[in-house]
Amino acid sequence: MKKKKIHLSDLQVVKAIQSGDKLDESIWYLYDRYYEELELFLFKNGGTKQDAEDVFQEGITRFIKVVLSGKFRFEATIKTYLFTAWVNHWGYLNKKRGKDKERDENYYYGNLQSSKTVLKDIEESEREELTLKFFDNIGDKCKDVLYAFYYQGLSYKEMISRFPGYSDEQVLRNKKHACIKKLKSLVKENNKAKNWLKKLLLKTV
């Protein structure tokens, strides 16, 4: 089904992301509005179509995370945020590939050099995500249970119907506690995560 064209201001996009209302439409809008520009930018900088798609997805994801963490304060436009995230990620990919291609200074990059705050927000968000990687060691089953209880706010009863593998509430409760214990031990093993957690949670939770 083709989506209908919409026009959204920066404020509308940010509000939609923050409230979760019309989030999909906002993301579609960002794709419509900026994908072609980014593709051209990457073509000019030696990238492929696949690079453009990957870099675009990463930038959009990063931007949404920055907005949800409350760091987007309209000090720069969405376009600046997105291009900063893209240029940053493109630089990272090139570095990873052992390339250090020259950027097209006449394009967006020159304009982005003044956006140090934006770059800082984006890098911080990237660091946070990287730090959170340790969480993956908890396993998918634990993730399912913990997300259902703490993120989706489901009751044990609701969880039983979602996870038929658990015979009763007590079994599920035990599983939840075992997962919490495992998570705490992972945090304990990971100093970086421990320090970051304290710092981050003071700000965002």
């Binding site: 179509k49 998570l183 939770v205």
Partner: protein
């Protein structure tokens, strides 16, 4: 972090979720004030909950964006960009407007025709005499031949594989130009040129440069237009070499100086 037993976790969860009955809550909060080790346990559990929510949110965002990304790039499922197209006008008329309207200098009809001559819409040729089209590029060419510029743009956007095809980019650039969307026309021609540069190829390169130069003029980007016309003029092998007159360069120079 210190281990706490299951009952304690349940109790703290209940408190942090605001589900604790009032009486229990009062007792709980008194303990929080007077028992520092209890306070630490509650704080640890609060942090763990925060961590879980943060990770869950991150994964949810990744998943939402990935779904939209997949759909967006799925063939025939891309959003069709429909711009509020400006009134169609010929490029020649626009250039005449730029040159005459700004009153930079006196220009005769024949002087202007030197520029206008090259500004006619691109006329695509039928690739197959049988009229049977077999590739996306040919299909797009056929649509363009019908002068159905909007459909040509839609077709281009709906067929992802055309997006790095220099001919398709050239045709879509001309479609945009015909519909007065000069910005997107410029993007398309620039992309066609860069792809050629990247692939060390020359597919529709001269044509893209020629039409890009005019698109720049339409957007009043005189410097860029001048640079490109100069490039064409300096290359006798260029397909449009003969089209760039010395007088045209002079006009651009004057425009540029005035700008």
């Amino acid at each position: 972090m210190k281990n706490i037993n299951s009952e304690m976790i349940e109790l703290i969860d209940s408190y942090l979720a605001g589900r604790m009955p009032l009486k229990e809550k009062e007792t709980f909060e008194k303990k929080l004030i007077y028992d520092s080790s209890f306070y630490t346990k509650v704080e640890e559990q609060r942090q763990i909950q925060g961590l879980i929510r943060l990770k869950a949110r991150d994964e949810e965002i990744n998943s939402i964006v990935a779904d939209i990304h997949r759909n967006y790039f799925m063939k025939n499922n891309r959003v069709v960009f429909k711009k509020n197209f400006n009134k169609i006008s010929t490029i020649a008329a626009s250039i005449a407007f730029v040159l005459i309207g700004v009153g930079l200098f006196e220009t005769t009809t024949s002087d202007l025709s030197a520029i206008a001559d090259g500004l006619r819409p691109y006329e695509a040729r039928s690739l197959r005499s049988s009229g049977v089209v077999s590739t996306l590029e040919e299909e797009m060419n056929a649509i363009y031949l019908e002068n159905d510029f909007r459909e040509s743009i839609n077709f281009f956007k709906e067929n992802k594989s055309l997006s790095d095809n220099p001919k398709a980019l050239f045709l879509v650039g001309n479609s945009y130009l015909e519909l007065g969307d000069n910005t997107r026309a410029i993007d398309s021609f620039e992309k066609a040129i860069y792809i050629n540069k990247r692939n060390a190829s020359t597919a529709f390169l001269d044509k893209s440069e020629w039409y890009l130069a005019h698109a720049y003029l339409k957007e009043n980007e005189i410097e860029k237009a001048k640079k490109l016309f100069k490039k064409i003029k300096s290359d006798p092998q260029h397909f449009y070499y003969d089209k760039v007159s010395t007088y045209m360069m002079l006009q651009l120079k004057l425009l540029s100086a005035r700008d």
